[in-house]
């Protein structure tokens, strides 16, 4: 009996360790909370006006646009495994000369922890693919799809089909290549042949409103000073004597099923708040206090699912296998 108990405990301990590694992977993790609102417009007005609450203040500092292509298999392998994989174009502050193209693999937030795995491939601009007989940058293909998304022309047209085929063939070829999200998927033990069938499933555009959340005047604030170095701290805090606690993003997004004749789409709105304090516990304290403010004043409710997961749940029935 005693030996059985020891064996069971060992198995449980081993399983716990495996779960930890599965959850965290080998990439960056974030500590964050996510919210939805019954009245998202009211909350948006609060954010863009840099509203001050009693203990915590907000500062709206930038607006960015994102275009996303979410990749998955026809059987929604990643969605079913609580993962999302996207190819993203970000336009900083509306300046089309300040653009980045990345690929990100993320895990869903679990309800026991606000930590998420995130694996980035930070630059896509030097990857090339053969399209219509000539070689072009993968970002050119992405831009063509994003143009179609902007103009709501994502139906099953020839041009969209050609682009999707080229993207698909690039992904199929590149699955074993040194691209971080693909390396992570292989390390997680997914079947290589299944991964080779990954392709764009959803495309979308998001507008992101970013704000700092901070406390002022150290003599009144009930938070320890954030000891992050100056080069890791936004300019706002280097100029003002304020204590950076959290960073937030309010996203308004619209996602389309790609190559759908009926241009099926769905809207997702969410507000993410991330701990930025050098002392993790102190930041968590600020997160919870801010959560109380949002719940009490804006009827905020917690969201765990990623935008991808929310969009898929809303559009699942319409996605062709």
């Amino acid at each position: 009996m005693e030996i059985d108990m020891i064996q069971i405990k060992n198995k449980l301990f081993f399983s716990f360790i495996v779960c930890l590694f599965t959850m965290f992977g080998f990439g960056q993790t974030e500590e964050q909370l996510k919210f939805g609102f019954n009245d998202p417009i009211k909350f948006k007005n609060t954010i863009v006006s840099s509203h001050s609450f009693e203990e915590l203040k907000t500062f709206y500092h930038s607006k960015s646009s994102y275009y996303d292509l979410y990749l998955d298999t026809k059987d929604l392998l990643l969605f079913n495994n609580k993962l999302s994989l996207r190819m993203r174009k970000r336009i900083f502050d509306g300046d089309t000369n300040q653009v980045s193209y990345t690929m990100q693999l993320k895990s869903e937030m679990s309800d026991t922890s606000s930590l998420r795995m995130e694996i980035d491939e930070p630059e896509l601009d030097f990857y090339r693919v053969k399209h219509h007989g000539s070689w072009t940058s993968i970002t050119n293909l992405m831009d063509k799809l994003f143009y179609a998304i902007d103009n709501e022309m994502v139906g099953a047209t020839d041009s969209i089909s050609y682009i999707m085929e080229s993207l698909q063939s690039w992904i199929t070829f590149k699955i074993g290549a040194p691209i971080s999200p693909f390396q992570e998927l292989i390390a997680k033990g997914f079947d290589l042949n299944q991964l080779k069938t990954l392709g764009p499933v959803l495309g979308g555009k998001s507008i992101r409103y970013r704000s700092h959340i901070y406390s002022e005047d150290l003599s009144y604030q009930s938070f320890l000073k954030n000891e992050l170095k100056e080069n890791n701290t936004p300019t706002f805090f280097n100029k003002n004597k304020a204590n950076w606690l959290l960073e937030s993003s309010l996203d308004e997004s619209r996602f389309f099923i790609l190559q759908d004749e009926n241009y099926k789409s769905t809207v997702v709105s969410e507000y993410e708040v991330e701990n930025k304090h050098s002392n993790a516990n102190e930041g968590k304290k600020a997160l919870l206090e801010y959560r109380n403010i949002l719940e009490n004043n804006y009827e905020a409710y917690p969201k765990l699912d990623s935008k991808y997961s929310q969009a898929i749940q809303q559009l699942k029935l319409h996605i062709k296998k």
Binding site: P122, E123, R128, P178
Partner: protein, 549 residues
């Protein structure tokens, strides 16, 4: 077009180095090392799985060990460089391209990166110098005089100065003494006349006392060192750069010209002068007190003299009588060794010839640990890999003690006037080195003569400008000039090279100060100004005996 435009265009044509702001990669592939990339090919076409095995090893952070030895964290810039190479090769694969010199070049570059990382993992797992290594160093030192003897061939091969390779860069359009600064500028190394550095962490590397610090820009870092290498490393590196080799970038500082600030006391292991002294003594056995010039907390008076100290008012600081800082620029990623004994580098003429540069400066510590493979970001996400001759401070007069174990560098009296002697049809070098790579052993007369011709191109101005950077006290500086000029002349004589810029030197050089003889007949007579030079240029007690302090 007016006259000014013509002058401008003429200047552009006359100064090609102005147009070139990058190091040339040169060729890495040779007939001897091609065999190391054969495994990437089948029927002259790339094998994708072989290629990806290497590129994934180099970029996948999940691969944490090589043969159970921990791999150092892969920097973002390094991974980006590998991914760029990978993408070029994968595109060649998709296009069905056959084997070509350009594909070979990229593959051998990947091999260099892979083997250097693996070597680094193995060497990192060994702490200190093993007994076996010490025996090997002793043996190499002892046998150097038998190894570095060459017969003068009856018919000397006329070797042209070589094309650029991993080990050597053609900077002929830049005056030799300016090449060090040119390389520094490429790497965005920016020393200032008055430096402020921020304490980062203690260092456990090597035997010379040192710490790691950050630049005020917080992107770049500096290693801050004390002891007997603070002058010699400065000169040794600049001479190597003048001869076309890539080097580390050390700079000498004294007194109020460098301020070490402890800016983040809650996050640091050392927060004051006393803690610094305590830790350096603990790690290196060296008492830093004789090297301290000033310390305290930064006040308004200091800020008046240097406005950049404004942000650090009230923070603890230390200034040193003398020290050296060595750049760790963000643009340069340091990998492992440059593989002197691998990838057929024993056949590489540039590497072989470099042994003469070591002899010229009297360098002793030529261990593989003092060689470095680096990636340099040259802007616009373009990278080049370069072999760096690192830690050239164990030079310019070295004394070794075995009982007790110790060594001392920068002893001007220990530096012979001649590097090499010629007798009948043989030349013989008197410099001793502690690791003799196969390349150094195999170097032949002609390969050394190529480097001797580069040494011949050094002018009096080159030597004087380089020596000036060391900030030696005047008598020592002058004596070193005479000795280096003499050593240069001995090399030219041995290789029968007509001196294009004769430099007058005096083996009987004497120098007196205030009626006191400091140097007589080429010999330093006393322990000069010990207060301001606590490491001593005279007594042979080195770092392992606390410089005799």
């Amino acid at each position: 077009m007016n006259n000014n435009n013509y002058i401008y265009i003429l200047l552009l044509f006359l100064s090609p180095h102005l147009l070139r702001s990058q190091l040339n990669r040169g060729n890495f592939i040779t007939p001897k090392n091609q065999c190391f990339i054969e495994h990437y090919y089948e029927n002259n076409h790339l094998i994708l799985s072989e290629l990806r095995s290497t590129t994934n090893f180099l970029t996948d952070d999940r691969v944490k060990a090589y043969k159970k030895h921990e791999i150092s964290k892969r920097k973002k810039a390094f991974k980006r460089h590998v991914k760029h190479i990978s993408e070029s090769l994968e595109e060649s694969y998709l296009k069905g391209e056959k084997r070509s010199p350009s594909i070979d070049e990229l593959l051998i570059e990947l091999e260099y990166l892979k083997l250097s990382i693996q070597n680094k993992a193995i060497s990192n797992s060994v702490s200190g110098v093993s007994f076996f290594k010490k025996v090997s160093m002793f043996w190499n030192t002892a046998r150097s005089r038998y190894v570095f003897k060459y017969k003068i061939p009856k018919k000397v091969r006329i070797d042209s100065l070589s094309n650029e390779t991993l080990f050597w860069h053609d900077l002929k359009n830049i005056e030799p003494y300016k090449r060090f600064d040119y390389l520094a500028k490429l790497k965005k190394v920016k020393p200032k006349k008055n430096m402020i550095v921020l304490f980062k962490e203690l260092s456990l590397d090597g035997s010379a006392p040192k710490i790691k610090t950050r630049d005020l820009d917080l992107d770049n870092e500096w290693t801050l060192k004390w002891g007997d290498e603070v002058h010699t490393d400065v000169v040794g590196s600049r001479i190597f750069a003048a001869l076309g080799y890539d080097v580390d970038h050390p700079y000498h500082y004294q007194k109020e010209h460098l301020t070490l600030v402890f800016d983040s006391p809650t996050n640091q292991s050392v927060t004051s002068k006393s803690e610094l002294v305590e830790q350096i003594l603990k790690i290196y056995g060296v008492d830093l007190n004789p090297f301290i010039y000033n310390f305290g907390t930064i006040d308004d008076l200091m800020i008046q003299k240097n406005k950049k100290l404004q942000d650090f008012k009230g923070k603890a600081y230390v200034q040193f009588i003398k020290c050296a800082i060595e750049a760790r620029p963000d643009r340069v990623k340091r990998l492992g060794s440059f593989l002197p004994n691998q990838l057929a580098n024993k056949y590489n003429s540039d590497l072989r010839g470099a042994v003469l540069a070591h002899h010229f400066i009297g360098n002793w510590d030529t261990r593989e640990e003092n060689t470095l493979l680096t990636t340099i970001h040259q802007g616009n996400k373009q990278y080049i890999i370069s072999a760096v001759f690192s830690d050239l401070g164990t030079s310019l007069g070295v004394s070794r003690s075995y009982l007790p174990a110790d060594f001392k560098v920068g002893l001007v009296n220990e530096l012979p006037w001649d590097v090499v002697t010629k007798k009948k049809n043989k030349i013989k070098f008197n410099n001793k080195i502690n690791e003799i790579f196969k390349a150094y052993k195999k170097a032949d007369y002609e390969e050394l003569k190529v480097v001797a011709k580069r040494i011949a191109l050094l002018t009096e101005k080159d030597l004087k400008e380089i020596i000036k950077e060391a900030d030696w006290p005047k008598p020592i500086e002058k004596l070193y000039f005479h000795k280096l000029a003499s050593r240069r002349a001995s090399i030219l004589k041995a290789f029968s090279i007509q001196d294009p810029h004769q430099i007058i030197f005096d083996k009987e050089f004497s120098y007196a100060e205030d009626g006191v003889e400091i140097i007589k007949n080429g010999i330093l007579l006393l322990d000069y100004d010990r207060i301001n030079h606590p490491e001593s240029f005279y007594n042979n007690k080195g770092r392992l005996r606390n410089y005799g302090n």
